[in-house]
Amino acid sequence: MAKIFSFQKPHNSYNISENFNDLRGGIKSTRLNINNMKIDLMQLVSPDIEDKVIYVGLKGFSRYSDENAMTLDEIKELCNSKRVYVALNRVVEFEKVREIIEKLNCEGFIINDLGTIWKLKKCKDNPDKRITSSVGLNPVNSLDLEFFKEVGVDIVVVPPELYDELPRLRGRGVQIESFGFALVEMFYKGKCLLSAYFDGISTKRKGTCTKKCLIKWDVILGDDFKGHISFPPKGTKFDVKADFVKIEGRQFKKFRNKKVSEV
């Protein structure tokens, strides 16, 4: 029987299929119904979400969630009653991002390109918008956080792999958003080109991923078969203390197809 190598699990890891509702505790679903609009939330920042901040995806600009992402008009309406952050975390050129931002009266944006953040902050027409740098920018040390602050980032999303290092990352002049629940993947988020390489679909720019990490790969030494390996994302709970806590999972149907009443 072929040897099956296992992708190294981080501590606290769960299989994706189990315990998700338990992990989420009192936190509500990633899918809400507010003002009769279905919203596929990027993340939840508070158990009391309906009174706090809401992160939503804009169709065509958000990773993963076009199916449930919102239109400009829907977001504009939502902004009348909620504090809204809009995910523009597919990488597009600055001019397109600026065009969108000028049309939205929301509290802030999530952006996945450091140069775009820098140019937005230099614009005098958007002084009050708060900018969150996407985890796809892969800040992995204190020098990154300091530079992101200089560039104009207000909130930095740090990779889940840095969970143990959060205390040493604080105090850099930016707020930190960390994962309370994350899918720890084969590569750092934002540093994976497998979809683009095998299928021509850039996760960074098209928003979707063909999940080639899930394949059962043969491990070959020279020309000799040694076993199998695959790299399924590991659902992992983190007991974090950060300015914002992110709950991930919307890219997997298991986590997405739940409504508030079901949780």
Binding site: L114, T116, L137, N141
Partner: protein, 291 residues
């Protein structure tokens, strides 16, 4: 146009393998523990710099690709040593480290292929802090790269070799050591692959590389049209003879000579075939014939 490559250790550095190139990146940025890594063996680094100087080559030093806080002290020591050795540039793929070097030292900085440079805005940001050269993210097409040329900054592109496709927080190879019976740091000197039907990957330290060799031999005129400043042979995981052969072939090719036999040799040097990467807006593993 500068022809460059990368060499991880002094042992992998022969005069023949260096000769075709104008400049060499020293060190393996994907693993500190790689045996003889020039990033952490400073006596070897000094010897390597001397050899390159004697041969009239430019010297660039690579730094660890995804440095966490625990890596920073080692990176600072490496930068200090590289400055003492008066190298021509330091390469980093980490925004924080890049900014730190430009703030603290007077040295050229090259932003490597995993810095996440997708847009003209990011190229402008790096130019604004004084970065001299960038390698755009590997997944940009020729059209995307043309836009970056509008920024006043040097461009370096990979023209041949296995391109990095991902960086992990740990080394996947370590889990094989007991079954294969080879310990770190010898393990990554073996030819290990992941295969699934015709899909192939090559794990190498914290990075995973393409199984196929990106090959732009037939398409050099298209890249020349971009007026790029440097082209790289990615050879960090390759045996010593590969760097020499591929370098000689591209040295001829850059001077305008196309030889079908050279192209066939490039194909024969790649165990799992060639591809064009992302230059033609297709899946990176596809090869489009040219010329």
């Amino acid at each position: 146009m500068e022809l460059v490559t990368n060499i991880p250790t002094l042992e992998m550095m022969s005069k023949c393998s260096i000769e075709p190139y104008d400049a060499i990146y020293l060190g393996n940025p994907y693993c500190w523990d790689f045996e003889g890594n020039l990033m952490s063996n400073f006596n070897d680094l000094e010897a390597a710099v001397e050899i390159l100087r004697e041969m009239g080559k430019k010297v660039y030093v690579s730094t660890f690709a995804a440095p966490r806080n625990a890596d920073l002290e080692r990176i600072f020591r490496l930068i200090d040593r590289a400055i003492e050795l008066n190298v021509d540039a330091i390469e980093s793929t980490n925004y924080g480290v890049i900014n730190y070097i430009k703030r603290e030292y007077d040295v050229r900085v090259h932003a490597g292929g995993f810095t996440n440079i997708y847009t003209k805005a990011s190229a402008e940001l790096l130019a604004s802090i004084g970065v001299e050269r960038i390698m755009p993210t590997y997944e940009l097409s020729i059209e995307d790269i043309e836009r970056l040329k509008e920024v006043n900054i040097e461009l370096e592109l990979v023209i041949h070799g296995k391109i990095p496709l991902g960086i992990s927080h740990n080394c996947f190879l370590l889990q094989f050591k007991d079954d294969i019976g080879i310990e770190c740091p010898q393990l990554c000197k073996q030819e290990l692959w992941y295969k699934h039907e015709d899909l192939v990957l090559k794990p190498f330290g914290d990075a995973t590389l393409s199984g196929k060799d990106l090959c732009m031999y037939e398409h050099m005129e298209k890249l020349s049209g971009l007026n790029i400043d440097a082209c790289r042979i990615e050879a960090i995981s390759e045996r010593i003879g590969y760097r020499e052969r591929v370098g000689k072939i591209y040295r001829k090719r850059i001077s305008g000579i196309f030889d079908r036999k050279d192209f066939e040799e490039l194909i024969s040097l790649s165990k799992y075939g060639i591809c064009n990467g992302f230059y033609f807006n297709k899946a990176g593993q596809i090869y489009v014939g040219g010329v």
